[in-house]
Point group: C2
Amino acid sequence: MSNISIYKEKLRESGLRPTRQRLKICEVLFTPEKTFHFTINDLTKIIENKLSEKISLATVYNTIHAFKKKGYLKEISINSDKSYFDTNVTEHHHFFDEDTNELIDCSNEEIDSVNIKKNITGKKIKSVEVLIKVASDNQNQN
Amino acid sequence: MSNISIYKEKLRESGLRPTRQRLKICEVLFTPEKTFHFTINDLTKIIENKLSEKISLATVYNTIHAFKKKGYLKEISINSDKSYFDTNVTEHHHFFDEDTNELIDCSNEEIDSVNIKKNITGKKIKSVEVLIKVASDNQNQN
DNA sequence: ATAGGTGCAAACGTTTTGCATTAAA
DNA sequence: TTTAATGCAAAACGTTTGCACCTAT
């Protein structure tokens, strides 16, 4: 609970007003010991069920996008109907379990860093994401 | 134009009936000299504008998904509102230009193959995708 | 004749928007 | 008190679905 003043400080530093809603979202996202992956829907459910709070969807979207812009969250590239976010903003990659739609972190020790020998004129590399899709061994792949 | 009989054959081999609509889609996707990237929207526009044909959206979706299932198309993972497909089904990776929302192929010579030292029990690797996001050098990232 | 495919419109789920209200500075 | 943030409902958008009709076999 005492984290709240830290979040307040951080938000103010970032030029974001520390509102009640944003502080709640910070608690959910940044208090857990471990980083985690979530969709907006997941997050809204956590806020509603675990915190018995109700934050407007628009506000959740606003806040998540603001946090992403500030680099407090990472969006993960998957071709899915929804967007996945990660509270782990360090450089790392992912497994995506097609059976369960779950993301699994892949630490840097578990994957060699990608060596890119091409560059695009006038463009700068913003991110390199490796996505390893996995599924049950015995799955009918048609 | 003489490709049509080839497409008919291929479709029949795959257990897909060679309908007028599917043959049109084959023409658009597989006749060009070069492989390319597209969204469903792109494809529908090409069919409407270049071929002056009208194929129902549901049919386009059906066909693209059928082709993907058969391995004639690849879906590319990007966190975008829409799905991107690739007529190049060989193993290769992509640059994604955030300024223009364009995909650029990255050949295997341009990127070292990714070495994964982790595996997930009971799961098999289905694909490994590297996505390199690029944007203008001078772009305001805020 | 009979699967399988098509087309339309409606439904769906996620995300965005407009605008009046509220709260932080 | 003024600027930013919230909440709500509506709209937008890509995608999927249900079902009657059509067409390849």
